[in-house]
């Protein structure tokens, strides 16, 4: 194959030089040097449109898992995320999730009136985080190899709960396994920290979340 390319190249070069030689007679009268006519290339350098190459820097996905909201039980959580991969190591992620919390143990045991209405019990959060792919690698399932990476991630955002909004930090880690170039499977562990005063005094709470997700790269 390489030989064929050399041949094509040589033919192209010969034709090119021959043209130069022909042009030489015509151009000498114009006062141009012989050298110019030979060296000046006929082919205009052309920049290739990089849009022809699919870039896969954006990641969009859905996830589902369990979130434990302190005092309000562990419940299912569902959410969506959008990420932009800046370099092979760093990515920026926007995520939003929702969980329906259950009664506090006090409410259940005392049998008294509930603290919150059903609508107030829904906890919705969104956050912006920066992730760092710490341990990139591969896993082997049979004869197939899949690219993976362990990452740590942290950021800040907003939690809407009990008719109020709370500034929330989040940090955690996860594991990403690319099934193909455009589908990846993700497992995340996060801690969401915020301070509320639903139970009377200010209370800083830690809310642990773990979820499985599926992402598409585009």
């Amino acid at each position: 194959m390489e030989g064929r390319f050399q041949r094509i190249f040589l033919i192209a070069l010969t034709v090119f030089l021959a043209q130069g030689a022909l042009a030489q007679d015509a151009q000498e009268s114009d006062g141009q040097t012989v050298l110019d006519a030979v060296i000046n290339p006929d082919i205009e350098p052309r920049n290739i449109d990089e849009d022809l190459i699919d870039s896969e820097n954006f990641e969009a996905g859905i996830f589902a898992g369990v979130m434990s909201v302190e005092d309000f039980g562990s419940n299912n959580v569902f959410g969506v995320r959008l990420a932009y991969h800046v370099t092979e190591d760093l990515f920026l992620e926007l995520a939003s999730g929702q969980t329906s919390t259950t009664e506090t143990s006090y409410e259940t045991l005392s049998g008294g009136s509930p603290l919150l209405t059903d609508a107030q019990r829904t906890l919705t959060y969104y956050n912006v985080s920066l992730g760092w792919n710490l341990l990139p690698g591969e896993v082997y399932l049979g004869k197939y190899a899949f690219n993976t990476s362990y990452y740590i991630i942290g950021g800040a955002g907003n939690t809407m709960f009990a008719d109020n909004e709370y500034f929330t930090y989040n940090f955690g880690g996860g594991f990403r396994m690319a099934l193909t170039d455009w589908v990846a499977f993700r497992l995340d562990f996060r801690n969401h920290l915020f301070t509320h005063n639903i139970l009377g005094d200010d209370k800083s709470i830690q809310n642990l979340e773990t979820h499985l997700g599926l992402s598409l790269f585009f």
Binding site: N47, S55, T87, A162, F167, D181, N197
Partner: protein
Amino acid sequence: MAPKKHLVTRLWIMLCISFLSAPGFAKDKGVDVVVTDAYAEMHTGPGHSHPIFHVVEKGETLHISKRYTDWYKARTLKGKVGWVHRDELRDTLGLQGEEIVFNEADREAYRDRTWELGVGGGSFSGSRSLSTYLGLHMTRNLSTELRYTQAFGSFSNSKLLALNILHEPFPDWKVSPFFTLGSGVIRINPSSDIVQTEERDNSVLTVGGGFLFYVSRSFLFRVEYNDHTLLTERESNEEVDEWKAGFSVFF
């Protein structure tokens, strides 16, 4: 009930087929290049830590189909498929000997950036705030951005959605100053556990300025001050000071 079930199954199958065939359409995309460096290393994955399993020789043709950050997925004529870093393809040529320029996120790309996405935090009239924006550069000096800010105060939370126009008089400077003019709406939500007051919506006019620092690759750092004037229905308008710092990426 049975025909309905069939319909659902058929819909599922159709959905699966369209989902699976979606990347199929993208197959004819890509460019053919000829390696002119002495060699180019091919990794198994898009990262430096993935092992090198093949070396492409000078003069070999590669078909490049995909890109992930700084990595290009390439296929040789012999069918080897791997990922090559952009640095190794810097001097490649097209099949007809034409020059190929791979977009690289550098200072030049920073000057010609079109889209900018940023996040930041700071102080909004003394309370903690978070903000995110999407910017569109119309010329090298002028850009417009849609910005969402949320502030968390002890007595109230505020949400501000604004459309700003930015003027960068000296985009070539290493630390480039800019000026902002904007307008938007703010919703102020008093904390429910303090007093039962109505939430209120106000129009906002913004004047501000700040500095942009190009860090590296596609990162930039940005510090900013804004003076918001809340147009209230009361006798006097309210003024809100906002300081913030954050980082952005451009693409």
